[in-house]
């Protein structure tokens, strides 16, 4: 049983479980908002509420899954920091999951088929983009390319469907972590957030300060 957190768009927190006998994935609770400005404010209440709704004590969890983006950095970091700290608190593993994979998985399990282009807002007139080719035998999405950045006016034509996501479901993040764990396919991605951009810096102006 996992706590799952994604703040790559709004804030989503879920508790998911995979039945060892039937292999059935279950979402025990999922709470969230598509507000992209208040991640730090809502994250704590959502974690508390998701656990309460699922009726699960933290110590019963076997790990914490975290959506690693891509997404606007400031909000994205809130969820990853929270997921890391919760995992540390319960002394269980932190499982990083690419947020686009969770979007693709949600679409395929909802009935989409074939090639799928997932896009999310990357700000600065760019999209974050990943392309998928369905689910594999383990039920995990097959990522053909991405995640990467493209200018908004240069979005490539999809080979099949295109889905622009405004929310990422933490339940899907958790489900992918459960599936990957069962199939011994972890890790799904590295421990670093999928920033896709170097930090924005204003380089030193040099010695002269008088203009």
């Amino acid at each position: 049983m996992l706590l799952a957190i994604d703040t790559s768009t709004g804030t989503s927190v879920a508790v998911v479980d995979r039945d060892r006998a039937t292999h059935e994935l279950r979402t025990l609770a999922e709470v969230g908002t598509d507000d992209t400005m208040r991640h730090a404010e809502v994250i704590g209440g959502f974690i508390r509420d998701a656990l309460a709704e699922a009726g699960v004590e933290p110590a019963r969890l076997s790990g914490v899954a975290g959506g690693m983006g891509p997404g606007p950095f400031t909000g994205l970091r809130v969820g990853i920091a929270a997921a890391h700290a919760f995992a540390l608190g319960i002394d269980r593993p932190f499982v990083p999951v690419p947020s686009h994979d969770a979007i693709a998985w949600s679409r395929y399990t909802a009935g989409d088929e074939g090639p799928l282009q997932v896009v999310t807002d990357a700000r600065r007139r760019e999209y974050a983009i990943s392309e998928y080719d369905g689910l594999d035998a383990d039920g995990l999405p097959v990522r053909r390319s991405g995640p990467g950045l493209v200018p908004r006016d240069a979005l490539p034509e999809p080979r099949g469907l295109r889905f622009e996501a405004a929310v990422v479901s933490a339940a899907a993040v958790g489900a992918l972590a459960e599936l990957a764990f069962a199939a011994r396919r972890l890790p799904l991605t590295g421990d670093a957030p999928l920033y896709l951009r170097a930090p924005d810096v204003t380089p030193s102006a040099g010695k002269r300060v008088l203009r």
Partner: protein
């Protein structure tokens, strides 16, 4: 919860130091700091996005290191404390997100506290004689320059004045750049000032003219000083003259120190508070401590300076303030607080 000597873990991420501290009441058990300062050096100042990325990487290892240093387990904790502001919003949010999740994972109360008041709280840790109030506090760092009147650490803190432009530490960084010295500027200026004459050049003292003293009695301004140093140096260079580095550095430093200490001592005298506490990273400047101590002595003011490891931004001071709030019987914060980059000093704890 043990409310007499609570074991509190404090998380501080308001600027470029990832700090985690652990205290038991007013006893310091651990103070671990991971700094991203070196990453900022090439930019000549703190880059918020670089700082926030570094916090996310450093926080887990820093919490573990603090627990090891204190020889305590997360299960032993009575509360978690975290800086809610003021500071860099994106940097603060990393600490806030982590602190909330950590507290929930352990079923612990959380205390969201004010960074500036935390600097004052640092003085309580392991100190032989307790902090007396009221006291004036001068907090000087790369991010803030504030003069506070602390009547009661957990319930009554007033902002007397603050910088209206650059923080004092920033002025050191910018002048270091003018002099071709690396970041951070404080220690570099100190080194360059060795053997220099602090009275060689009379650089301006910001907001000390009579008309400034009406509207900005306790405020500071350092951007005019920085410009004056730059102009002075450029005029010498334009004239083909050598720049007397040691004299420029010593005279600049004297201008900063003079205005900081003068206003702090004046505040003590005018408000009838014979106590002054120093805090913030710039307190590492030996000349500042020296002048403060001379003038405090001359005015009969008791001067307190916490150990330097507790003056720079750190998690122990946040834990210390959290512990004081617990011991004073304050209720914990709710889970809805956020990062407030301009949190006023009167908000010692955020609900």
């Amino acid at each position: 919860m043990n409310t007499r000597e609570p074991l509190v873990l404090g998380i501080e991420t308001s600027c470029d130091e990832t700090g985690v501290g652990i205290v038991r009441g007013d006893a310091l058990l651990a103070n671990v700091i991971a700094s991203s300062m070196e990453e900022h050096a090439r930019y000549g100042g703190v880059v918020p996005e670089v700082a926030a990325r570094a916090h996310l990487e450093a926080l887990g290892p820093t919490i573990r290191a603090a627990l090891a240093e204190a020889s305590v387990d997360l299960d032993d904790l009575d509360a978690v404390a975290v800086t809610s502001g003021p500071g860099l919003a994106g940097a603060l949010m990393v600490g806030v997100g982590a602190a909330k999740a950590l507290a929930i994972s352990k079923g612990l109360p959380i205390y969201a506290v004010n960074h500036l008041v935390g600097h004052v709280g640092a003085d309580l840790l392991d100190s032989a004689d307790p902090l007396e109030t009221p006291t004036v506090a001068l907090l000087v760092s790369g991010g803030h320059t504030s003069l506070l009147l602390v009547r009661d650490l957990v319930s009554d803190v007033e902002l007397l004045g603050e910088t209206i432009d650059d923080a004092a530490g920033e002025a050191f960084d910018k002048v270091a750049r003018v002099l071709g010295l690396p970041y951070p500027g404080g220690p570099e200026i100190d080194r360059a000032a060795m053997g220099g004459d602090p009275d060689a050049i009379r650089f301006p003292r910001g907001l000390t003219r009579p008309k400034d003293l009406v509207a900005h009695r306790w405020d500071f301004s350092f951007s005019g000083l920085k410009t004056a140093v730059a102009r002075w140096v450029e005029q010498r260079e334009a004239a083909g003259e050598a720049v007397p580095m040691a004299d420029v550095a010593a005279s600049f430093r004297e201008a900063v120190v003079d205005v900081l200490v003068s206003k702090a001592i004046d505040a003590c005298t005018e408000l009838g508070v014979p106590r002054l506490l120093l805090g913030g990273g710039v307190i590492a400047n030996a000349r500042l401590r020296e002048v403060a101590s001379e003038r405090a002595d001359a005015s009969g003011i008791a001067l307190r300076i916490p150990p330097l490891s507790l003056c720079t931004d750190n998690g122990a001071m946040i834990a210390a303030l959290g512990a004081q709030l617990v011991m004073a019987g304050h209720a914990p914060s709710g889970l809805g607080f956020g990062a407030d980059s301009t949190l006023p000093v009167t908000e010692i704890q955020v609900d």
